[in-house]
Assembly symmetry: C2
Homo-oligomer: 250 residues x 2
């Protein structure tokens, strides 16, 4: 695989922190990382790193403090539900060194929701109104319990439908960079055969990113070549050269 | 969500490092983490953390050195192909401070494979025989180019079919702990309604892990409760109590 380099390094950067034992035990296949990665790329924000940690206070705090200084935005998923081990909000408060308690505006959102659905706003559910001091709420159109943004950390639910709704409300508020364009070419040749010429082409187009992804389907081997960049004209020119180059070696 | 705690903390621990821009750009949905998580759990090894980093030397080295001291095993996927930016092997060598070069036994594997398939073992492909000093090779029955184990770091390919084959050859060589058993119960009640009683039950069974996972299907809400542990009799007893408890509140 050839690294995507250069062309989007001036774009804002992000990291994701997935919080959940169920991902690490193999019970659940995470889908939030893939969703966020696609949305960020479309918005011109470069996802630099992702981590998955267990629901343990110290690990969440350490990961948050490790990540938030190195990127423009950190997005978290998971651990903001009603049970006593949904500890993400407390961990975020601890990471920033700010107090946390039930907040009136968050409580009002829950009260309205549970009144509407005829359910009891019990002590467990009220935990979801605990918001670190200084945070801004993130709207949850699915089940009311809000996410929040504190500093450059956006705290969102783990349930994919809610996570996606929260991403949709947060992203438009963030400054993006140039959207990353891409074109792909599928060849029935091994990565080892095209690695040389592809490396030469990549050297001549330093502002584009060249990726090669080997595949195996029904016993046949091949490679998908993906060229990415923010300059459409350069991208077109590189694809013409690439096609010519591979034809010449066919 | 309720944390999985206690019962498998004496088992060996592991971390995974996924190396690949294509995961972070959203082009590819990673499936290796989910596969490894399931296999490790079945083998009695606890996956404590996972990270995804870009194909950048310094980031890979830093992540490796951050992870390998804290767990019994680190598994990596990706970046060991033939292109000039497949840099995982060099990064692992740098992390351990050992030299790396083409090794005779790895070269012999590639020579045999390319002779058999009638393809040329060119300079790009020969890069896949670069192995850090002191490493043990990991068999690749799909496309010959080996992975390797250096210290407690197991370096494997990113292509899922090859990754899975390498996991299958490495895992039986590692000491596992007690296999983790689990039982699940699906209820049509919100997580907030069962959080209280579930927390009480979890407190009475400190050797078991209690997870609650909210779901939304066709507009209906519910929760799956998963109880995990290595002691089958305790697990059975807890499930009986759980069912009784939830019936009583129905």
């Amino acid at each position: 695989m050839v690294t995507l380099k250069g062309q989007d390094m001036s774009n804002p950067s992000a990291a994701m922190l997935v919080i959940g034992d169920e991902i690490l035990s193999g019970r659940t296949r995470d889908s939030n990382l893939h969703h966020l990665a696609k949305e960020l790329t479309a918005h011109g924000i470069r996802l630099a790193e992702a981590r998955v940690v267990a629901d343990e206070h110290d690990r969440i705090v350490a990961a948050l403090n490790d990540l938030r200084g190195g990127v423009d935005h950190v997005f978290t998923s998971g651990g903001i539900g009603p049970t006593h081990d949904d500890i993400t909000a407390d961990a975020v408060a601890a990471a920033f060194g700010v107090p946390i308690d039930v907040r009136d505006d968050a409580r009002a959102l829950l009260e309205a929701h549970y009144q509407r659905t005829g359910l009891d706003l019990n002590a467990a559910r009220l935990r979801m109104a605990r918001i670190p001091e200084g945070a801004t709420l993130i709207d949850n159109p699915v089940s009311a319990a809000p996410g929040f943004t504190l500093g450059n950390v956006h705290v969102m639910a783990g349930v994919p439908a809610i996570f996606q709704a929260m991403v949709a409300s947060v992203l438009p508020t963030l400054t993006g960079g140039d959207a990353l364009l891409s074109q792909a070419l599928d060849v029935r040749r091994g990565e080892g055969e095209i690695a040389g010429p592809l490396g030469e082409l990549a050297a001549r187009y330093p502002m584009l990113g060249f990726g090669s992804y080997p595949w195996i389907r029904d016993g046949a081997h091949g490679t998908q070549i993906v060229v990415r960049g923010t300059d459409g004209a350069q991208l077109d020119a590189a694809m013409v050269e690439l096609t010519r180059m591979l034809d010449a070696r066919a």
